[in-house]
């Protein structure tokens, strides 16, 4: 959908860079127009109301004007500044990972209201005091779905035979699960445990309230992270940089404090 000369949008700010001395170039994910870039003039000046309204991880209602090169934000109102996300290191870092994934998986000017809802819903979920791991995996799986890369989990993606209740394999290249026979012929397929497959099947079809009731033991948690992140990396053909930061934090959290809530 092309944007009118003046328009309003509900946006989550996913990225910002400084533009000149006082302006910011923002990457927004909007409900109405998908991803777009816009300038927040004077956002870096002290006392700028706009500045606080367009920090990353803020859900705002914006008025914009089409510019020659870049659209310009003319009015802003915060709907939710998500202060809870910015008060805890692990929560904030998980949120930054979500923003990076949305940025990497989307192109400008292609509306995807389902993805906007998923993004917003995920930010709200991250404010809850539950395991962030489930929130992240549920987000990854549904991001793939919203983006048209839903993994085939119901039958073997190659021979279409039903999957037995044994260790099967996941192939990023084929975009789904392979039976053991087909996996032998596939160059890069990773074993996928029965529990992991069951969990993914549950998560793809259930709401979040049900999803978070899964008892995610450490081994299952890291297996699911591995499967989804390998697939994501294959699709993007690049590393997701925030993963490195999450790993670094996990290593430095000797007391486990930041991992468990």
């Amino acid at each position: 959908m092309s944007r009118p000369r003046n328009y309003r949008a509900q946006a989550v700010v996913i990225k910002q860079i400084k533009l000149g001395e006082f302006d910011k170039l923002l990457t927004l994910y909007t409900s109405e127009f998908g991803k777009l870039k816009a300038v927040a003039k004077g956002a870096c000046r002290p006392g700028s109301k706009l500045g606080g309204n367009v920090e990353p991880l803020t859900h705002s209602s914006l008025s914009l004007a089409r510019g020659r090169n870049l659209d310009i934000i003319t009015q802003s109102q915060i709907i939710n500044g998500f202060p809870e996300l910015k008060a805890d290191l692990w929560t904030l870092s998980c949120s930054l990972y979500i923003l990076e994934l949305v940025d990497l998986f989307t192109m400008e000017n292609s509306a995807n209201p389902a993805l906007f809802e998923l993004l917003l819903g995920t930010l709200h979920r991250l404010t809850e005091m539950t395991s962030k791991e489930i929130t992240l995996r549920y987000f990854e799986l549904h991001l793939l779905d919203c983006s048209g890369y839903h993994p085939q989990l119901q039958k073997c993606v190659r021979c279409t035979s039903p999957l037995k209740s044994i260790t099967n394999f996941f192939s990023p290249r084929q975009g789904g699960v392979l039976c053991p026979l087909c996996a032998e012929k596939e160059f890069k397929a990773h074993p996928l445990s029965v529990t992991a497959l069951k969990t993914l099947r549950l998560w793809e079809s259930c709401d979040y309230a049900t999803a978070k009731r899964v008892n995610l033991r450490p081994a299952l948690s890291s297996e699911l992270a591995q499967v989804l992140q390998d697939y994501i990396k294959y699709l993007l053909q690049r590393e997701v940089k925030s993963i490195g930061w999450l790993e670094e934090l996990k290593k430095s959290s000797v007391d486990n404090h930041y991992r468990t809530h």
């Binding site: 000046r45 500045g51 290191l89 990076e100 940089k241």
Partner: protein, 200 residues
């Protein structure tokens, strides 16, 4: 800009790389210098060269300095038990102007930005931790811009410094979220230093 002769075009290009200088200003500065005497032009060129030649980073606090350690790190008048952590060298001047702060500094040279791949490795965080091994350090004040990268950095520093039994504080929230220390007015900054708070 092909209608400029090369020496003019070259200087316009160089000026144009400076922050806040657009093509128009770059041309104006270039033509201004063209009218200047040789001596004045040379003085400017030498000032620029000596900036790079004579100025380096303090090996203790990583502020820019023309002698190592810098005058703040060497000063006997200053409180060596407190270290104020800032993002970049230009954040120190406004804090000094308030006259409220008498401790030392530590310049990180950036903030954590995971999506850009900027993490602890790229900042002077190891060096800060090395300084904190000194048991005479009592307090670390985190004076980093209250934006998202700054917040990530502040939370990370609090996370790694708190176990060392050193008091960690941050500037009071007189500074609006998204603001920049460098441009904050003295009053706001004064209040922010005086009202600094413990991390919750």
């Amino acid at each position: 800009m092909s209608f400029f002769i090369e020496p003019v075009a070259r200087l316009v290009r160089e000026f144009g790389k400076l922050p806040g200088i657009g093509p128009k200003s770059a041309q104006r500065l270039t033509y201004y210098l063209l009218r200047e005497t040789d001596e004045e032009a040379r003085a400017l060129a030498e000032a620029i060269l000596s900036l790079k030649k004579e100025i380096g980073l303090c090996s203790i606090c990583f502020n820019v300095t023309d002698h190592d350690p810098c005058s703040i790190c060497q000063s006997k008048e200053r409180n060596h038990a407190t270290i104020c952590v800032v993002e970049k060298p230009s954040d120190i001047a406004p804090l000094e102007r308030t006259g409220k702060y008498k401790g030392l500094y530590h310049v990180l040279h950036g903030t954590i930005n995971p999506a850009q791949g900027i993490t602890t490795e790229n900042l002077r965080i190891k060096e800060l931790l090395a300084r904190l091994q000194d048991s005479s350090i009592e307090e670390v004040i985190i004076a980093i811009n209250p934006n998202m990268e700054g917040e990530t950095t502040a939370l990370y520093l609090q996370h790694i410094i708190a176990p060392l039994n050193i008091r960690v504080t941050h500037l009071a929230r007189g500074l609006p979220f998204g603001a920049e220390l460098e441009y904050a007015d003295d009053m706001t900054l004064n209040q922010a230093i005086e009202g600094r708070q413990e991390f919750k």
